[in-house]
């Protein structure tokens, strides 16, 4: 499946409100590598939507996603001197983001295990309203519930399966691109994606049945 989301369509993606057309990413990388902060800011603008969305989908938490995106861009900044400007920066940034989210997720899980803090699941706060502007409240509620369950089911997948599925399904990467982002073989990626689809189906079924059985209480 490929998504129509322009944020994940190509390498030259603008930010929410770019002041000027973004020049080639390679040029920005070259200039940023010489210490040009304006060039690096434009590079961040061109990639921020993709990075933040990926972190958000991998972590399922807005604050954690912002932390992860910041860390990913800082790691990109520190790696500018080693980057080949002739190669696209997006695969490298995907890989950094996945690694940062993996580390952050592990730390967060450890912290919650220590503090016995319940895992938050507040899609109404974390997720924005639908962009399609439908006026049917019942349909909106059903859609919001479906998204909430999907997000939760996604978050309950093992990290590698989740990352493979998110990159493949939500970000529309090819199997080869996912393999590059995960530092894995294409066969491994297919295995992760296959198991993730089946596990997501099982989790969604369980969540839906739990929600139907007790609509006022959060399913475990």
């Amino acid at each position: 499946m490929t998504t129509s989301n322009p944020a994940i369509a190509g390498d030259e993606v603008s930010g929410p409100a770019p002041a000027a057309p973004v020049p080639a990413t390679a040029l920005l990388v070259r200039r940023a590598a010489t210490g040009d902060h304006d060039a690096f800011e434009r590079l961040v603008r061109s990639q921020e939507r993709r990075v933040l969305a990926l972190a958000w989908r991998l972590l399922g938490d807005r604050a954690d996603a912002e932390d992860a995106a910041q860390e990913a861009f800082l790691r990109l900044y520190r790696a500018l001197g080693r980057l080949d400007p002739a190669r696209p920066v997006t695969p490298f940034l995907n890989r950094i983001t996945v690694n940062v989210c993996h580390d952050l997720g592990r730390r967060r899980t450890r912290r919650r295990e220590v503090s016995l803090e319940p895992e938050t699941d507040d899609p109404g706060q974390d997720r924005p309203a639908p962009r399609d502007g439908r006026a049917d409240p019942a349909a909106d509620a059903a859609l919001a519930e479906a998204r909430r369950l999907a997000a939760r089911a996604l978050r309950e997948l093992p990290f590698k399966q989740r990352a493979a599925l998110v990159l493949r399904e939500l970000h529309g990467l090819t199997t080869r691109e996912v393999a590059a982002a995960l530092d894995a073989t294409e066969t491994t990626v297919r295995s992760h994606v296959c198991r993730a689809r089946l596990a997501l189906r099982d989790r969604l079924a369980a969540l839906r049945s739990g929600a139907r059985a007790n609509p006022t209480k959060e399913t475990p």
Partner: protein, 243 residues
Amino acid sequence: MSCSDPRRWQPKIALEAGGDLPLEERAAVSAHREACPDCRALARELAADRDVLADLAAEEPRPEAFDRVRRAVMVAVREEGADRVRSGAFRGRRLRLALPPLAAALFALAIGLALWLPRPILRSPSESPAIESPATGGEARAPQPAEAPPAEPGAASVVSEAAPSPDRGTTPTPAEHLAASGPISEPASNRIEPSRHEPSPALDTVPTAGEPAITIQIVSEDPDIVFYWLTDQPQEEPDDATV
């Protein structure tokens, strides 16, 4: 009728749902799915789940989240960039960029120092005051004009008494002007080596025959600096170069 081998077919159905199945397996999996109700149901469920995921993909973080991230990143980058510049992380590139202007600046500085540092100093060829003032002229080694024979040509280092000439009236000569201002004290390093330089022919032809020989030299530490002589008649090379 349940699937005959779900462990075999379910992963293939899951791959087929996303178009990830290798080309050579597609026909076999498709044939099994058409024949197996369980696998057909699984394929429908997987397709519905993918629709939910696609709907999830349509969501985006709020615009203010981008601004927050970008601002935080740029603040950290500017701080870190300053640290990296201080620690030399950008030194290689910056040095390469700065080398031509740096070289030009250093060259200009060297030229300026060469022109400025060895400033010419008025100096007597002898260790005694260059030109004795009339009041203290008794210490001069050169003979008095009335008693001594005419100054010999080439007496480069001899400083004679700067007696006022009746032909010139009350206008002081440069030597007299210097004599009136008293002896010039200079560090030992600025002492002249008169025998190394020839008098300037142009300045050596001042027609003041009959007057006592007056010599003014401009000396410096740099041997390449030209010494200018002002003399009123040809003089001979003195026996003692540093008289």
